[in-house]
């Protein structure tokens, strides 16, 4: 039989049993829609992470205290304190690939303005911090090296802090606020950055000279971390080496001792996050793939039912001249039609779901052509694979027995 006639025949058979065909397709529809949605969510999250990380400055380097003593617990961040102004000065002097540098000493507490108060944290930094983190002044002016030297009681407010301390929309510039009872003058506000990928409010900050935070709030000589920027993105690796050498010097580490600090580039962070999100994507896609297989088994099941139901028809067709291959193709094409129609519906559903999700989560929508082509291909293969055995069974029937079948 000609292929066009076979296709017409398959369409007719499916139209006769619309509901059954649709139910059979359901597995494929869900599978394909899931594959496309999962892949687009994975891609979208990757894009959005990369976008926001590069907006933080792609040549940024972070230095934090770190201990990986054998037998001891891994410690990170605030528990361990070994970074001081000596390290910062050493980096300024001995790290040629470092451009800007800022220590960070942070303290959490209450910010108060008159009757308004707001629990937040204050970051003690150097003036270069703004450049390193790509922060911009909205109103007012940044603090200066002079302010650092004199531990001036001045600060810059993020938008969230402004909104909470000045709820009536007054101009915060020049006002005195209190942070943990220390009065500080607001000299500027920051351009809002919005939420980070991890749901953190990046505008809920107060910036002040690190000397002010260290002396007046923390009474400590230690920093939580040091931020720096490499002279260029390509110099990142060399800069990491510079930093490591300089800090091993200031910390007086012997050759056999491990680093007691960790130096991370933005790029590393990016690739870590990307590999996490790729892993998630792979996992989700595998789950979606399994539902495709289940869909295929559904097709196989219904095709077996269909072959049994139409045994007499098969016998008749054979008795008037259908060859085994004609019968095989008839049922195979029917199975492929089911899976491909399911695929088309699944693609439509998956694309709409991806668009809706990306608009809800504020992600860049990313529906790759490959995921659509691959799903289509997989559908056709599913149809062939799972339709083949029922079709083979049909084509191998004995015409006389098939005609006699009740």
């Amino acid at each position: 039989m000609k292929i066009t006639n076979l296709i017409r025949l398959a369409i007719r058979a499916l139209q006769r049993n619309k509901l059954r065909a649709l139910l059979t397709m359901l597995g494929i529809i869900i599978g394909v829609a899931a594959v496309i949605t999962m892949m687009s969510i994975g891609e979208g999250s990757k894009l959005s992470i990369n976008e926001s990380l590069s907006s933080m400055g792609s040549n940024m380097i972070t230095i934090t205290p770190y201990s990986n003593e054998p037998g001891g617990a891994t410690m990170m961040g605030s528990n361990l304190k070994n970074l001081t102004i000596v390290d910062v000065e050493a980096l300024e002097k001995d790290a040629p690939n470092i451009d800007k540098i800022s220590p960070l000493a942070s303290s959490s507490g209450q910010a108060i303005n008159g009757a308004s108060n707001w629990p937040t944290s204050i970051q003690g930094v150097s003036p270069e911090y703004l450049d390193i983190r790509k922060l911009e002044i909205k109103d007012g002016i940044p603090f200066s090296e002079e302010d650092v030297k004199s531990s001036a009681k001045v600060c810059l407010l993020g938008q969230t802090v402004v909104d909470n301390l000045f709820p009536n929309g007054e101009d915060p510039i020049g006002k005195i606020i209190r942070f943990n009872k220390i009065p500080m003058q607001v000299i500027g506000t920051l351009v809002p950055k919005g939420q980070s990928n991890f749901g953190q409010d990046q505008d809920d900050i107060i910036l002040a000279p690190y000397t002010t935070v260290q002396k007046r709030l923390l009474s400590s000589i230690y920093f939580n971390s040091i931020y720096a920027s490499a002279i260029s993105e390509s110099a990142s690796i060399a800069a990491v080496e510079d930093v490591t050498n300089a800090l091993r010097g200031t910390h007086r580490l012997r050759a056999d001792q491990e680093d007691d600090f960790q130096v991370r580039t933005q790029e590393e962070l990016m690739s870590t996050l990307n590999s996490i999100s790729s892993m998630l994507t792979t996992l989700l896609t595998a789950v979606a793939g399994i539902s495709l297989v289940i869909g295929g088994i559904g097709i196989m099941n219904i095709m077996y039912v269909s072959v049994t139901e139409r045994t007499r028809e098969i016998g008749l067709r054979m008795s008037i001249g259908a060859r085994g291959i004609d019968i095989l193709l008839q049922f195979l094409i029917e199975a492929i039609m089911i899976s491909i129609t399911g695929g088309v519906i699944g693609v439509a559903l998956g694309v709409s779901a991806s668009l809706i999700i990306s608009s809800l989560l504020n992600w860049p929508a990313s529906i790759s052509d490959t995921s659509i082509i691959v799903s289509f291909f997989v559908c056709a293969v599913t149809g062939i694979f799972f339709g083949y055995y029922p079709a083979l069974k049909a084509s191998g029937l004995d015409p006389i027995e098939a005609l006699r079948y009740e």
Partner: protein, 248 residues
């Protein structure tokens, strides 16, 4: 001397069911010439259907020779047999075997669909001509459940004719029909026979056999009698003489 369409020589057919062997045909021999109208008679279980299936290339003899149109079918593959059925044989079944929910026209087109040398246009034209030949030219779009038993059998006959086969094989084709309709079908068969079609018609009713030109009697898988019917009845005349009230 007219051409031999089929020759069977000492044809045997055995079915093995587990340890038991059923001998359905125990050595049947006869020839059929082109243009003959043969009925195969015999009681139930005498092997009529088994024989007809072999003649129709749906089945092969366990033993013996079957020559169709001078081709020994023993040597043919499954696909070659399918092609023979498609081009040389027209089957008519007791149960009509039409595709449900499919129009008369499409049912008749079916054999031509398996013949790749025929175009869509030719297929349609031949199917219509075939339906007109069985006087169903006004029922092209009717599906089987919209047709009476006699009409359905006529669609089946049209389907058997559409490939212009060398012979028509019918297995109890009137078995499900009342007398009047049976006679109508037989009248149609006689017409086709007069137009030159060879017909082998299986029946167990003697009055149906009376319309043919020759009767082969089967008994227990053997030919019991093979008689020429010199003065066969005309089915059309039989139809006229049938009392009208007979149709209930």
């Amino acid at each position: 001397m007219s051409k031999k369409i089929l020759e069977i020589h000492d044809v045997k057919r055995e079915f093995t069911m587990g340890s038991e062997t059923v001998r359905a045909l125990k050595g049947v021999s006869f020839d059929v010439n082109a243009g003959e109208f043969v009925t195969i008679m015999g009681s139930s279980g005498s092997g009529k259907t088994t024989l007809l299936n072999i003649l129709g290339c749906l089945d092969k003899p366990s033993n013996g020779i079957y020559m169709l149109d001078n081709v020994n079918i023993k040597e043919l593959s499954r696909d070659a047999l399918a092609k023979l059925r498609n081009t040389k044989i027209g089957f008519v079944f007791q149960a009509y075997n039409l595709l449900p929910r499919t129009s008369a026209l499409e049912n008749v087109e079916l054999p031509l669909l398996y013949n790749p040398s025929i175009s869509t246009k030719e297929r349609r034209e031949r199917a219509i001509a075939s339906l007109e030949a069985v006087k169903l030219g006004d029922r092209l779009d009717h599906t089987p459940n919209q047709l009476s038993g006699g009409q359905q059998q006529r669609v089946a006959i049209a389907r058997a004719l559409v490939n212009e086969p060398v012979m028509i094989l019918a297995d109890e084709a009137t078995g499900n029909l009342d007398t009047r309709t049976s006679y109508e079908i037989m009248s149609l068969m006689q017409e086709l026979n007069q137009q030159g079609k060879t017909i082998v018609f299986v029946t167990h009713e003697p009055d149906i056999a009376a319309f043919s030109s020759r009767t082969v009697m089967l008994k227990d898988g053997k030919v019991q009698k093979d008689t020429q019917n010199m003065n066969s009845r005309s089915a059309r005349e039989a139809l006229i003489s049938l009392p009208v009230s007979d149709d209930y």
